[in-house]
Symmetry: C2
Subunit: 409 residues, 2 copies
């Protein structure tokens, strides 16, 4: 019997009414002749509520204890979904991360999955049960010496896709509040079109630069183990977007898959540092040590032997980064550390962009024609990102969506 793994996010299981609706959907999938494994997130705001309780006690609670605390959220929703399935007459069982055999690193709040031992999941499937697994969590080792770890951002998507891979399931369905992956944010561009299909590679890039629908981490696992991921709406029967291997069909179509934007970013410039080996390493190691992710790094050396280094970071980290950099700035004799908050990143993504310089040219030209100034540029082989003024975000996304004719299928 084919195995389908379905993942439902926090808003899909926010109330007992919604959990009952999910149970109907799971049962329909089971009745179509599939073995079904369901991965759930915590109900609605549960995780935030648990974090608030901890913060009433400590401003900086221990991360191992936080994982012990917040992992209960998915345990609650899993049990309730299993009960809802049983109420429909479908045999079901809920399993925690440790019961489902999810072994992780010992890195609280941000553990990666090391291995999955799904024998118990498989056993329950053979018994005809729907298996409901807590998303977002695992354990460092089996038995009483194991500690509960959570997987960090995109954790439940990651649980689902990794479990699909371990079960050799061909399909992992990620249920959310939208119909699938769009060419860009439909709230910003009404003409945005839902994609029927997108390659793993393009999805990873899109997700990495602001498309919120899926975390790149889960897509990477899908890509590695060749699991088809379908992003679907939990409120309707629409077919959603298939994230899969790149195919010839994809190549023939429009080579830009989508346009993403992020406007919760800040740009930091360190001007006039001495141009000698190790300076960049010093700066970025210091930021990495405290877990600040940097992006779009640009370095240019002027004729006087001094260098300007600029990069973007999440806006929430701006103050913390500035403090750290001002200390390091003295060491590397920087002239000035500048933080610019009112900026946005706009990206075009598509596997077809590879080796086609015309895409970059078109993008720059479209922005220039409307006097949208480009502060920084960053690229990967299938992505071009421009940093612009935040107030121009909507206009830029709209212009690029039109220029690359993304409204057309």
């Amino acid at each position: 019997m084919p195995i389908i793994v379905q993942k439902y996010g926090g808003s899909s299981v926010a109330t007992t009414e919604k959990i009952k609706a999910i149970a109907d959907r799971v049962l329909a999938t089971k009745k179509q002749g599939n073995d079904v494994v369901v991965v759930v997130s915590a109900m609605g705001k549960t995780t935030n509520n648990l974090i608030s309780l901890a913060q009433e006690i400590s401003s900086n609670p221990n991360r191992r204890e936080m994982d012990f605390l917040i992992s209960t959220g998915e345990q609650v929703s899993s049990a309730l979904l299993a009960i809802a399935l049983q109420e429909l007459g479908q045999d079901a069982i809920s399993l925690t991360g440790w019961q489902a055999g999810m072994i992780t690193e010992n890195i609280p709040a941000n553990a990666r999955i090391l291995s999955i031992h799904p024998s118990r999941v498989q056993q329950h499937l053979r018994e005809g049960k729907v298996v409901v697994v807590t998303g977002f969590q695992g354990v460092t080792e089996f038995g009483k010496d194991g500690d509960i770890m959570t997987l960090g951002r995109g954790g439940s998507d990651t649980t689902a896709v990794a479990l699909a891979a371990a079960l050799k399931s061909k399909t992992c369905e990620i249920y959310t509040d939208v119909d699938g992956v769009y060419t860009t944010d439909p709230r910003m561009v009404p003409e945005a079109r839902k994609l029927d299909k997108i390659s793993y590679e393009a999805m990873i890039e899109l997700a990495g630069v602001g498309a919120k629908v899926m975390h790149p981490r889960a897509v990477e696992i899908g890509s590695f183990y060749n699991v088809d991921i379908v992003v679907r709406n939990s409120h309707n029967e629409n077919p959603g977007t298939l994230i899969t291997k790149e195919s010839a069909t994809m190549e023939q179509k429009n080579r830009v898959s989508g346009i993403a934007y992020e406007n919760e970013v800040a740009a930091i410039s360190i001007a006039g540092v001495i141009d000698q080996p190790g300076v960049a390493a010093k700066i970025f190691s210091a930021l990495a040590e405290v877990g600040i992710n940097t992006d779009i790094i640009v370095q240019a050396t002027n004729t006087s032997g001094h260098t300007d280094i600029s990069f973007t970071i999440p806006k929430a980290e701006a103050n913390r980064a500035k403090e750290i950099l001002e200390k390091i700035g003295e060491e590397v004799k920087a002239e000035k550390v500048t933080v610019r908050n009112e900026i946005a990143k706009i990206s075009i993504v598509g596997t077809g962009i590879k080796n086609h310089p015309s895409y970059a040219a078109t993008m720059f030209k479209v922005l220039a024609e409307k006097n949208i100034n480009i502060h920084m540029i960053g690229t990967s082989s299938i992505r071009i990102t421009c940093v612009i003024d935040k107030e121009k975000t909507a206009e830029a996304v709209q212009l690029l969506h039109e220029a690359f004719e993304l409204e057309k299928g």
Copy 2:
């Protein structure tokens, strides 16, 4: 270093403010030179709230799923207490039942502890940590094949005393909202006196017939493993009541330790059944099968060869019991099944009662003098229980408290 196990109930950890207050108390015990293990219940109404969620989905939710669900309550309070201790600078770690090595039977909602493997608890104590353990729960076996079980009524007390036994701790402190064990309910008899000491045996009997302060199950474990149990108030520094082995000192004192009452009971009489072997077995097996506890069983045979059987049960079970018994009544040719709801059980308990018939005589006389009719009588070697009209409960408790001079130390 001596090990002290402390248990805090749901009302003691109902808010983050209360959890911080508990952390102060735990820290003080640690600073007095003890290794401290803390067992906690779920915060306030958490367990009831989780049960309500499940009942919104099913009127009869699966018990294994219910244990999976409600066991999260203690996990939350344990993590929060560990965080509160860390905030005070005290190294601490929370452990679930499975992490603390609590192995139970596979009987959801009412599992007994089979064995405890406290090596992980001991290791963390050696590291100087306070270990916070989730009460009320265990796991059927180590590793991913184990299922989470809850221990039923008195579960957190049982966790604490059993853990104290496994750790060879001499003392287990049970924190609650009252100063200790009283000669009777102080809300009913203002002269009720807090006991400094009571034997395991008398405590088990008292708890079995209505004293709510401790569950007999936990006291039985304490008795078996010789763990001193101290019942104390979590809001003050009063010394509480020591539950321990019976000693000569105890014998010299007043031989009645306390008076308990229960008025949520019903009496059932099955009149005129045929007097032949197997009839009583048939009746009580049928009730045991559906989990109805019977108490104070009285049987009398009349000259015509017919028998009347009477017994008490929890009032909440009265309707269910009546249905079952009416069916069986036909089989055993009973004349009538009567349920009497407006009754109460009044008990005097004390190790000194053993082999002293004068206690029973005094009890019956005191009640008779005030025209309080005794419907049924039940005894153990250290307890005498009378079933009387419910409306006479307060009067009877007051009379007996005076008659046995319990207000005197």
